[in-house]
Symmetry: C2
DNA sequence: GCCTTTTGTTGATCTGCGTCAAAGCCCGGC
DNA sequence: GCCGGGCTTTGACGCAGATCAACAAAAGGC
């Protein structure tokens, strides 16, 4: 899910020779070595389903590159995205053997996985890992709660502005562009439908509100996916957040 | 927040002579002893605010008795409840010194608190505590995500049915009545307004939908708060959940 | 190149829920 | 007993967003 901590770790993770900094940012080298021994990689293509809710899940892991979504579906087909998995985000849950959500690769995805049983053993012997996981999970929880406010109380326009502003911020963090005053440019990693699933809207409403924000000069669009935000504070205003704190608590 | 694990721990917690089983269910006696040395109690009256979002927060703790709510507000007054704190639920976050949410006592509340600094020290020396906290936090995260589906995709009627069914289940668990086939009876611990804040609705809509469920025989009401559910599976049907899994993942 | 499929836009209409308003219920104070 | 304030219910009405539908614009496939 989107939050400061996972973002700040992301670049390290993809550079890190053993590719699991996210899990073990503070571990000593011998602990890293033990993690190293049980890890393996899996690749998924864009559009491919990584896990189905209810499936047996005998691994945990973290995203190395690409973007995946976490979502729930009702029998009648209504679906709600409950998380967006970015590089360094953790998937799976120690102590549970079935998946609670559908996980789908939005782009090509590489994951760094650990078989669950050895990982749990290792966690018992390595307090740092549980502490690191606790930190990450608390961040996820904050992000999920922040999103409950978006889903429960914001208007469609505010929802779109919230999503754009969160993606803009993520992008700025990933690319090490600090709080630049100038215009911000990024690509939307999601289809209109995926955005709708994240925001609890229909894809038509998403499209309409994006057009409206464009007409009002809050954003500029080239093609369908390339977004320019001339004035970030204006966008955050539209999102209805407090000027500074913003969406990341 | 509402979930199986916290529920199952609750009765033990209130019986436990040192009142922090929730945090340390698996600890050895000397670890319990160390926790014991840094704990203290705080009492709050119904309606009283326990913490304001943004306040400095120099303790963590767990609810011993009573019910409190966790919520976020926008500047214009719109508020969204993001969690319901029941006995044994944990409040506060190691590693952060300001509160992220408003916490309000719905009934009279007793909390068992630990000053943050000594608690964090203890956590570093006691791996069980971090592991236990991780488990609890993962449960909270699941509950929050489950609620995202409710907020984003369910109709008002389904939302009400979801809330009633979750409270009914909690009540059954607390009172050790298993999956009884017969009618289920409980008291609503929340005002219509608090329910609205939880469900992302207005209090009028909450009231109307409760009346509708009553008219349709899904529930019976005596007074405003005393609810009888003649057929639990019917209620869960109305909530739109899969028959078995239900809201607790 | 052309054809099919996926993705996105825009319009017309419908409806669920919010908003505004009035009145009923229940409890506690005096 | 009466009164006042918090909570709840119910009605009338309007609007934001869903739904249904048509079309445009990219993206592959061959």
């Amino acid at each position: 899910m989107l939050n400061e901590r996972s973002l700040s770790v992301a670049p390290d993770c993809s550079d890190c020779p053993i590719r699991h900094r996210a899990v073990c940012a503070r571990c000593e080298s011998d602990e890293l070595e033990r993690l190293e021994q049980i890890k393996y990689y899996r690749k998924f293509e864009a559009g491919q389903s990584i896990i189905w809710a209810g499936d047996r899940m005998d691994f945990v892991g973290s995203v190395v590159s690409g973007i995946a979504t976490l979502s729930q579906a009702m029998e009648d087909g209504r679906t709600q995205m409950v998380g967006l998995l970015l590089p360094s985000d953790f998937v799976g849950r120690p102590g549970r053997n079935t998946a609670a959500y559908d996980v789908v690769a939005t782009t090509d995805v590489v994951m760094c996985c650990f078989r669950r049983a050895p990982f749990e053993d290792l966690m018992k012997r390595t307090p740092h890992i549980a502490q690191r996981l606790l930190e990450m999970t608390l961040d996820e929880l904050d992000a999920a709660r922040e999103w409950m406010l978006v889903l429960g109380r914001k208007t469609a326009r505010e929802k779109i502005a919230s999503l754009l502003s969160i993606i803009a911020r993520r992008d700025a963090t990933l690319n090490k562009r600090g709080a630049a005053a100038g215009p911000i440019v990024f690509n939307l990693p999601l289809t209109r439908e995926a955005m709708a699933d994240y925001l609890g809207l229909t894809l038509e409403t998403v499209s309409r509100q994006i057009s409206a924000l464009k007409k009002d000069g809050v954003i500029q669009l080239e093609g369908k996916r390339h977004v320019t935000v001339p004035d970030m504070s204006r966008l955050m205003d539209e999102a209805g957040d407090d000027a500074d704190g913003g969406l990341l608590v």
